[in-house]
Amino acid sequence: MERGRILDVIGTLARLGLAAVWLVSGAIKALDPDQTYIAVRAYDVLPADVVSVVATVLPFLELAIGVLLLVGLGTRAVAALSALVLVVFIAGVVQAWARGLSIDCGCFGGGGQVAPDATAYGTEVLRDLGFLLLAGWLIVRPRTLFALDGRLESRPPVRSGERN
């Protein structure tokens, strides 16, 4: 009972923390579409016309994930989507690192080519792994406080025999 409560609080912090990450990164990217295009292009993975679409859609996807996490709707599914997007981001950074590109990840604005000694691939990957950890927690245990998910369930919040 007491333990469950603590886990709920941890889950809630993970959910709101991850929501903040997506809302901030999405808003910065949505407000500067030209810079976002440069950032996506710098990864040198997608063809130019696909880069253009990805760069304009991605910020809104991030904002949508952020809003859903903030209100706690479909937490497990949204956490899984977060994890998927984060894995794609990490793969993008790792391939740039492995190929010897000199880019900034553009994770929170910025992005594009930088001087070879100004790259921060290790930090960027670690940071994304940290976010992935938050998403992982919510996939395993999506039950949190102040979530719409809780209201959608017709039974009282504390159930006996609840696995989560």
Partner: protein, 260 residues
């Protein structure tokens, strides 16, 4: 104990799973709707961004030294502005998409024009396509440089105004840039016969010269400096007498010019 009708007989576990499935379905539908809405908004924004940029007319800026002699070396992708034999000759390497080039033109453009008009200065403009992949779609740098060469060859007197107009309302890095018809319309507004620039762009008349000029500059030891992307060739680069000028020093030009 459930207040809901239980269609499957017995099994509290089945009933709980069903109920959870019910709330899960509502949440799932909501998630799909929100994510789909976000993607649709993104696609609409994308379409809108492209459309508005395509409809823009490039505002004409009439250059202050429109009367100065202009000669062009299309093989080298260099346009020289100013009376031959002026006491000072500058080599200016610029990319029409480069924001710092735009700032350079905003701050020093008038001084350069005045010195050219006074006969104190020749400027050799090297139009390069350093930022070719920084427009959406890529290629604005190359198109603008080629268009400038086409203008200089067809109607030399229109070159500086064409140049100043492109910097006057410069497309943003990462933005769409101007397309062939917009560049052609600007040239036409400056007196170049309609279609000349568009034809040169579709025939890629100057592409090889512009690209070769950039490649030459990139390996030229005198042109290397510290740029935002590390040490190397960057734009703008201003060269006088074989040395790079520090254009962050506000007196870089007046220090070179003869005193009157």
């Amino acid at each position: 104990m459930s207040a809901r009708p239980n269609r499957t007989p017995g099994g509290a576990r089945v009933s709980a799973a069903r109920r959870r499935g019910g709330s899960g379905t509502i949440a799932g539908v909501a998630v799909v709707l929100v994510v789909a809405a976000a993607i649709v908004i993104g696609l609409v924004v994308h379409a809108h961004r492209t459309d508005t940029a395509a409809q823009a007319t490039i505002p004409v800026v009439h250059s202050g030294d429109a009367a100065a002699p202009v000669s062009v070396d299309p093989q080298a992708a260099v346009v020289t502005v100013g009376a031959p034999g002026a006491p000072v000759t500058l080599d200016v390497y610029e990319d029409f998409l480069c924001p710092v080039c735009g700032q350079f033109e905003q701050v020093y453009g008038d001084q350069v024009r005045q010195a050219v008009t006074a006969g104190d200065l020749d400027v050799r403009y090297h139009v390069v396509d350093l930022l070719d992949d920084r427009s959406d779609p890529p290629g604005y740098s190359l198109a603008a440089a080629s268009a400038a060469l086409a203008v200089a060859e067809t109607d030399p007197g229109a070159f500086t105004s064409f140049h100043d107009s492109l910097y006057g309302t410069q497309p943003t890095e990462g933005g769409r840039g101007y397309d062939a018809s917009q560049l052609d319309a600007l040239a036409t507004a400056l007196g170049v016969p309609k279609g000349r620039v568009a034809d040169a762009l579709s025939a890629h008349t100057y592409d090889a010269a512009v690209q070769a000029s950039l490649q030459k500059a990139a390996v030229d030891p005198t042109l290397q400096q510290n740029t935002s992307a590390g040490s190397g060739f960057g734009t703008p680069t201003v060269v006088y007498d074989g040395r790079l000028l520090d254009i962050t020093n506000p007196d870089w030009l007046s220090a070179l010019l003869p005193r009157h």
